[in-house]
Point group: C2
Chain length 293, copies 2
């Protein structure tokens, strides 16, 4: 292996400790405890797991978690009422609505109802607009894209003037990450799954972000020697040699790419843990702003 | 010259005739005359010229132009009151706020006050967010970017699966055009003025959009043979052989590039006239939607 690991697990642990220390300071100096409200509608098992991880890590970082676990058949009006109540609650500094919502609910309208100052997940449409445009800043950027940038920064990977390639313009990760890289001064490439010569375009990248939802698609010969490779994929592939009969893999063929890249995220343990760390960091930031700290 | 001209003057003339015919039909069938309100604050000469061109072309296309020419020292509150009145006016189907506004006014807040259904200029932040994301459509897309796409479509230049390069991620043109091309299925490149090897990246382009604000920067050897080259630049350079002592040029060295490209926009007469044509088309569309036509 020649690539340095972009170790999301270790980095996120460092960040969570930093957040905890700052939260303690905020409590001591301003008597404010950062509070995150997690809004979960219905009982989707994956969503429940994500939300409980977020709540647990929130509390471990010395912050308050307000779980709002709502029935699957809640009406849009009732859901908006819950959001309004959280907007008005001074103990709540961040509001996260776990997506996807059940089909009968309007995600756009729900996200747009969140107070911009509490939009720690960064998906309020005004924040998406600000993320898109030059020279304006969102109140908060989406957490997984932010986690990708934070990993690059913590490992001193330059962005400005470099060439970035994002495979997969997804709303949750690919597009916002692309915009963050662009506004940090990278020359940007964005490809679709149907783009011809994905391999050739990927080889241009100093920074390659794989968000293309295809297990181990990015091979060693897709990568420029020395590139930083960020894998936001997550999926299971059958593997009878593994204890559980499957293996968790990303969009990058790690074994091949680690021999070529300069930096690489593992899956698991790369961008996943960074996402929650960024959520905690955004919530802390919101609490600090609320007291002008 | 080997390139076919992407003739914005002729194409916009065709579109304006189409709009006029549809406006007449709308009047005959639904007794509705499309109405565009042009909001001009202060007396900036360039802004006055643009606005009066828009108003004149609007009337020539059988539509109503409501000029709201407001004093330079209008307060933000008064300006928002004007927008509210236009939002409420059933005869107004489109509202265009001519930018830039004087420094004491808040452009973001002003654009966000426009009724989404009347945002024919496409710069309401919710429309920017929808333009950014996959699988959602803005009520209207910004007019100059839309004009670039319309020119490509009218000249049968394929977008899907092609490689597009946008030089200059400007808020008004570069970024929205990039997003439109991406969501039409192009593989996208976006460069900054400071990006190294702009020439090399430009040579990748099947569709090259120059929004880099540098007269005649794009040279013949920046262009892949057969590429479609769209120039959104507009500036004056000294030219003592010209009658007025200057010549209007774009970001592309037309004389060089026309020998290499497959299609090229002239400046003037390219994307400029298309912008107003798209404004009229958006206003017509809004009027049609208002009666479900």
């Amino acid at each position: 292996m020649t690539a340095e690991l972009l170790d999301g697990r270790a980095t996120s642990s460092t960040i969570r400790q930093e957040v905890k220390a700052e939260a303690e300071q905020l409590k001591a100096q301003h008597d404010v405890v950062p509070g995150l409200a997690t809004v979960l509608v219905g009982g989707d098992p994956a969503s429940k797991t994500y939300v409980s991880m977020k709540e647990r890590q929130c509390e471990q970082a010395g912050m308050r978690a307000f779980g709002r676990h709502l029935p699957a058949d809640i009406s849009q009006e009732e859901l908006l009422g819950e959001i309004e109540a959280l907007n008005a609650d001074p103990g709540v500094h961040g509001i996260l609505v776990q997506l996807p919502l059940p089909d009968h609910l309007d995600e756009d309208q729900t996200l747009a109802a969140i107070d911009l100052d509490k939009d720690v997940d960064g998906f309020h449409p005004l924040n998406i607009a600000r993320l898109t445009l030059q020279d304006v800043e969102p109140t908060f950027a989406p957490c997984m894209p932010l986690g990708c940038i934070e990993l690059l920064d913590r490992y001193d990977v330059d962005i400005k003037g470099k060439e970035a390639v994002v495979l997969g313009p997804t709303n949750i990760v690919g597009l916002p990450t692309a915009l963050l890289l662009l506004h940090r001064g990278a020359a940007l490439n964005v490809c679709h799954p149907h783009t011809e010569d994905l391999a050739g375009i990927s080889r241009r990248a100093d920074i390659l972000v794989a968000a293309i939802d295809e297990p181990r698609m990015v091979k060693g010969d897709w990568v420029k020697p020395g590139a930083a490779v960020i894998d936001v994929g997550w999926g299971r592939v059958k593997d009878e040699t593994a204890e559980k009969g499957y293996r968790v893999v990303g969009n990058v063929d790690f074994d091949q790419v680690k021999e070529v890249a300069g930096h690489i995220t593992p899956v698991p343990g790369g961008t996943g843990p960074m996402t929650i760390a960024m959520l905690l960091q955004n919530t802390l930031l919101s609490a600090k702003r609320s007291v002008g700290a």
